[in-house]
Symmetry: C2
Amino acid sequence: MPRFVVDVMPKPEILDPQGKAVLGALPRLGFEGVTEVRQGKRFELEVEGESSEALLEQVRAMAETLLSNPVIEDFEVHAQSDEAAE
Amino acid sequence: MPRFVVDVMPKPEILDPQGKAVLGALPRLGFEGVTEVRQGKRFELEVEGESSEALLEQVRAMAETLLSNPVIEDFEVHAQSDEAAE
């Protein structure tokens, strides 16, 4: 069954307190040189049917409606097989 | 400056209540056919220096130490330029 990945990240102009907390913790753990951290969400979905543009479009609608808050977050949707090929 | 992505997902054998909540909400919003949802985290890091295998290894150490809980989560690290090429 086709699998899709939805990546949801805070928009660049939105404060990201979780990312800032990680950025502050890294030097205390001995990790230097990191200048920015942003924290978002990743969803993996398994969907019935054949992988198709229509199915991708449906997952995009899910991302916009339920998985992200489009006011403060951006999202990207892609089929998981793309990612395995990285 | 090189950017890295760390994807952190609950291990397959670990219950994922957030994913289950999304899975339950989808049909109520009119989205049918989704059989599984897993929810994890995505981190985007900007690091000083040249992109190299050593830098990637350092980000891997951050992922293992701070960004994930290796008992219940798996993580993957990759340079963000890889992703843009998808």
